[in-house]
């Protein structure tokens, strides 16, 4: 379960958002929607630990997350819009690298974990390929597998349907639903309203459900 309490962020004097309160239950899929440039990605980067928040709390499975932008560990799995796969590593190496370096898994453990995830996401054939050899949809699923390999408390997607055609979007919906059935808690930042409604249990409108303006 992720609890967001009174979260706020400003750049210099400009308040991007404040008074953000939200709870996502275990196994739930939540979409955060709103037009481009409204601060959704800023929120996602705070959740990911890449940006500091100015105020508030993030509590994941009863453990407070560091919001100073200097977080250790991989409690939040992130699927970036550009995926940010490591180009010099194969699909499998992308997935096994962090578990070995950070979670100190043995190579065998990391490998069998990765094989299971690749199988689960229909990527068995791509195991030894490099990111440049994959389609956009495949890259996205590799990014999902890479994030899941760290056993995060929540999976967060940044605009997962941007640049995808209708067929690929359907595939993303299926993947998200498939993970939901397995109990993965997921948060999706998107401006694609039909997609958000198709995939989510709960929708949070970043345009109207947070305050902005004034001072912190």
């Amino acid at each position: 379960m992720l609890e967001i309490k009174n979260l706020a962020k400003a750049f210099d004097e400009r308040v991007i958002f404040k008074d953000m309160d939200l709870t996502i239950n275990d196994g739930e899929v939540l979409s955060i929607v709103g037009p481009s440039g409204i601060g959704k990605t800023t929120f996602l980067r705070i959740l990911a630990g890449l940006l500091p928040a100015d105020r508030g709390e993030l509590i994941l499975n009863n453990e407070p997350l560091n919001i100073s932008g200097d977080r250790q560990g991989a409690q939040v799995g992130v699927i970036f819009q550009d995926f940010n796969l490591f180009p010099q590593y194969t699909v499998k190496e992308n997935i096994t690298l962090a578990p070995q370096l950070v979670k100190k898994m043995t190579k065998n453990e990391a490998n069998s974990n990765a094989e299971e995830l690749l199988n689960n996401l229909g990527l068995t054939e791509q195991t030894n390929q490099y990111p440049f050899q994959l389609s956009g949809g495949q890259k996205q699923r590799v990014a999902i597998a890479r994030a899941l390999a760290m056993k995060p408390g929540i999976l967060a997607y940044d605009e997962p349907t941007s640049g995808l055609d209708a067929g690929s979007t359907d595939r993303v919906i299926k993947v998200i639903q498939h993970l939901k059935e397995q109990g993965v808690t997921q948060l999706i930042v998107t401006h694609d309203l039909p997609f958000a409604q198709a995939v989510a249990d709960q929708t949070f409108d970043f345009g109207t459900d947070v305050s902005r303006g004034g001072s912190l």
Partner: protein, 214 residues
């Protein structure tokens, strides 16, 4: 032909010196260049400033002057007296470190921020991110420029003649002025061309090896 056979031993002796300076400079300056490039991007202002000044001085003054300064200057100033070969090698390493640092700095800058973000959300430390994610990609990017510097280094090594080291160029010089002929120079030129050809082949192979991804 007989003449070539006659002067070959001294030319090869010079080649040994040239290769010595070349290999030691490469071994010293590439790793140091990587470290200085990281220091150039450091958050510690003083470190960054000192490294910028170092790069400025090393790139801003002739290598010839630097060699003379380290060999004669430090001795005259009673700071230290280095033997010729050590003085030359230390100067070459210091000089080439600055060039390699600039090359690596450019390479590091060209890595997209997303790579750092990707590594950070997976919990990788800064050191792990540098070692496992950034530097392998940087090496591929900088390889053509590094190859260029290596070719320059082979030829620059001839500057050690200024402090009387018996390198390839000096061996040719001695034979040419003793025997009043241009043949030693032609031979020396040929040896340099062979060295550059080998360096180029090695560089191309390394580039091809790193080209397995895009």
């Amino acid at each position: 032909m007989d003449y070539i056979v006659q002067i070959l031993p001294s030319i090869l002796g010079g080649l040994k010196m040239t290769l010595g300076v070349f290999v030691l400079t490469l071994i010293g300056s590439v790793p140091l260049g990587i470290l200085v490039s990281l220091a150039l991007r450091s958050d510690i202002y003083l470190l960054k400033w000192v490294m910028n000044a170092y790069v400025w001085i090393m790139r801003g003054t002739p290598l010839l002057l630097q060699i003379v300064f380290v060999y004669y200057g430090l001795s005259l100033a009673n700071i230290m007296t280095l033997p010729r070969f050590e003085a030359a090698t230390v100067t070459f390493i210091l000089n080439y470190t600055a060039y390699f640092a600039e090359i690596f700095r450019g390479g590091i800058q060209s890595i997209p921020d997303g790579q750092y973000d990707g590594a950070k959300v997976l919990g990788l430390s800064k050191l792990q991110t540098m070692r496992k994610i950034v530097l392998p990609q940087v090496l591929k990017i900088v390889m053509p420029s590094v190859g260029n510097e290596v070719v320059n280094l082979v030829k620059d090594s001839s500057l050690v003649y200024v402090i009387g080291l018996g390198d390839l160029m000096r061996a040719g010089n001695i034979a040419a002025s003793r025997d009043v002929t241009l043949i030693p120079y032609l031979l020396v030129g040929l040896v340099y061309l062979v060295l550059i050809a080998i360096a180029t082949i090695v560089q191309r192979r390394m580039e091809r090896k790193m080209n397995y991804y895009r």
